[in-house]
Subunit: 170 residues, 8 copies
């Protein structure tokens, strides 16, 4: 939750996918980037999906994130109705670990790209970080926040390295 | 081409897919089933796609056939906007022979089915025959036409069998 | 269970697949469409399978639904013995999440299509809804039932959207 | 072609698959094993397929070979109608190089096995050699023929080895 | 366990695969076919594997069954050292449900076929039934046993059908 | 080629991939977005790759596009060394049509996202359009250019539709 | 843990992968080969990864082992910065059992090979044994240790064989 | 061809695979590493394969390279009969671009690793470079040759970069 103006809208095909994005919402909170979360299905509620996509730019939104599994059409449907960047998040499924979700999102036809991120547990966080990278092109504060996050990740790895390499040293 | 009233609408994402359906158009002609062919993209022309799907039933259309490749959303987009049966035709692609097209079409979420047919050279013909089977539920003429076609296929196989089994007999 | 005349026959290769179709039986009940359920194996009981398929149309049945996994030949065997529309339901399996089931059902040869639906938990419900869409071509009551179901799905999504978007608003 | 009594029946879903089995027919000729070749489709001509399978054992046939691609049901249909060993030959297809054919043939349910061989150019020859191995269990002449063929293969490899290892020696 | 002379040898790469074949051992017992079970690895104990394969025919053995997972070379190694029919049983693995095991067994080169059966829980039983089919070519008792087993399977399915179709009838 | 300041850098692992991006370069020219093209390999020239990625933001660059095939590490290597958005373009390969390239690019670990686009002939154009969408968040001219391009695509489809639907009308 | 000089360095992308390599550490201990374990991420800590790879040869290290999952770039990044042999260990993942990890590691471009081992539970042990085989080329003690290990594996299999073949003998 | 003592033996399952390794032979020539080339099939000539593997170490050979496609058992068979490092080269095939070859080689069981390289056109060259890296652990001349080759690769890329970045500069 955030008091910042909405720069990112998450659209999920089903509220059962909320757990996949929680790490992403925290990430945006940490970077002070405002967002909204919507539950809207490309197939069951096509009209509200259109409205969200078509109205986003003039509201000052910078990025739409579509989260879906299976024949995961939602990100592509969003990308067809806006010229803002749309991030597609393939939800892990039982079918080859999410191969259906991944291919349905990434293999978009010429002219309508979707920025697809990985189909795994990290999918929500990486979608948030990609949104932040996109906003950082014209926002020095977000760029600074990303640099700090990057240093933090490196420091966490190095701390683990110090501990583990010591444990196995003779 | 046919003078019969339109019972089937083919919607193709690109006119480059026309060759895949020509055998299907001939099949409908042979069965005297009227049809239209539209070139409309789920991603580049979402509004006309909506109009075709939403207006189909009251025009007396019985089946919509969506033909698409890659992140092939077109059949699912049609199925979201009508309660008529929608046939999905995955166009063979370079990616695993069309695995992306097939999965994007068939793996629809609960509530919005697409009747998917095979992703191969026969895809157009089989879509036409499935449309005819659907219309035949309430149309004895089409049912009779399908029976005749079925007998014809069997006779063609048996003629081949006679020739080949003779060729390899001693 | 239903008192309506049988318009749909479900044929399952094994009674262990019954749980996959329960949501589909409820769906047909909700739409007041009569059905029967048979346990018949294409490989262990080929003759009764033939009898069911060959006798279906004259009994007034409109759709056959074949449910099978692995080398899932049942839907294709049915389609070879009737000109009614046959829906194929690939049961999720351990092999790539059901990739074997899906390909065995959908990749039918030219001339004998099977209307394949998704290989996931929703497979029974989507098969029922596709059967209803097929019957709705010539049945205004079923068409009305499907429209009502469609509105219900949309309303359920919008209710979730209201709740979730509120939860994450500041 | 062979004057020997028929011990093997090849059943092909389409005469377009004949080229895949020519090396297999030659192999059986070389081993003096009699055979027949039939063109019969599990889906277009189900009844003659049944007749061939059901009558095979009492005619003295030892092995049935089903050759098919895509949703390749033919070998399984044969295996359901005889207790003789049935060899399944997945014809290479455009779909993952024949992955659909292979899975549709090999993933048979409990109780009805099909002896599946490789999906590649060698598929006909390997089917013939597997049939010969099966017949050799009770036929010393065929066993001797197989031993000779095996020695011939080894000698051909060793001749190549001599030539190539010499070519690259200094 | 059986007092009959050994007609079938099972060779397993690891005793952890024994559970996969228990249904197969019972099947052979039911058909009164004698067998042995060996634990031998193509890669860890290549010499004893060679000995078993090379000595099998003169001991009166009719079929070798190689059971393996992953880079499952065992069946192919056996087939290279005998002209008896070799059945390959791909053990289900974590990798695509056993896709690695299946491809490593079935995709044998020209000249050395392996009779591959399904990669699933039924794999042991189907291997046993395929071995029995092979032996039945020259053994009327086994043929009769297989016919009885086939009738039993059909009766079991029909009994389930009676129960289930009644349960869902109105 | 463009006189505009460089907002996008294309980095290709090999100049043999240039044909894949030509449609993308034209697209950027059409939208008056300046770019550079570099041939640098993550594995053969790691140091210059680092330099390009690390120096990009302060030069005013907004997006990096990494183009690679096989174990396509280049986009991920770039993303590890900048906080700018990095687009990954999987080059179609012989291996499952580019499945290796796609998975190597998209399945990035938590913390370091790559915005992956489709692995097909359109990959260069879609990468360019995604870059433009990203830059358009803070650039009204590019947003206007994208809207014009979107209208042009729709008009092209509708022109095809008019022609084709007329051709098949009776 | 070992007092021997470091001949092998394990580099893991995450300490959550430590369980995968424990059998490998024991294996090296058993063969008296010294090693170090580092936790370093190709994407989060690129610079220390470079330092380890570039400094390895002059410290007397013989083999680097990179352990990673998903878009598993670590082994390739190491191989780009040393001319020592680099072993890549694909960690099993949810995606096709590790297909993404495997392809990302093995499909390296021309000029920069990675010695990839199997993606399964045995991955750590096999990496250790491959490292030992590499060191054994110029180290007779390690060669002797490997021969002893090989004999031990064979004896363990033969003991199982004696027990199991006895259990199933009549 | 080389006058140097044999340090590497290439074993190919078929001489039709020679074109895949020619770039690898040139690479070894360039590094002055002696080699032999043998054509031997794991399945058609198992005994000579055993002899080559078992006698290699005492002849001073350091690395065996097994080249095979499909159920590519050759590298594993070699690894089972020596404790030297064995490199497995999966030959590209029609089946998923070589997925069968790759999995059959890499998925070796615990205790018997094969060092697998990429399944693509570069496979021969990368096998040669991996062999050289292995030999370089104890051979400073080869290490120096590899460093020179590495510099050469980098220079070739940088020359291309200079040309291409100039071509697209304004």
């Amino acid at each position: 939750m955030s008091n910042a103006p909405t720069r990112v809208i998450w659209i999920l095909g089903s509220d059962s996918d909320l757990p996949h994005i929680e790490s992403g919402l925290s990430m945006l909170d940490e970077l002070s980037i405002g967002y909204e979360v919507r539950i809207l299905s490309a197939h069951r509620t096509p009209d509200p999906v259109d409205d969200v996509a078509r109205g986003a730019r003039e509201r000052g939104v910078g990025v739409l994130i579509g989260v879906a599994g299976g024949a995961a059409h939602l990100p592509g449907v969003l990308a067809a109705r806006t010229t803002l960047p749309v991030i597609g998040v393939p939800v892990p499924s039982a079918f080859g670990g999410g191969l259906d979700s991944l291919l349905s999102i990434v293999q978009m036809p010429s002219g309508v790209p979707v920025a697809t991120v990985s189909a795994n547990k990290a999918c929500g966080k990486n979608a948030a970080l990609l949104a932040a990278r996109i906003l950082s092109v014209a926002d020095a504060d977000i760029a600074a926040g990303l640099e700090a996050h990057k240093r933090g990740m490196a420091e966490a790895v190095l701390a683990k390295d110090a501990e583990v390499s010591q444990r196995y040293a003779n």
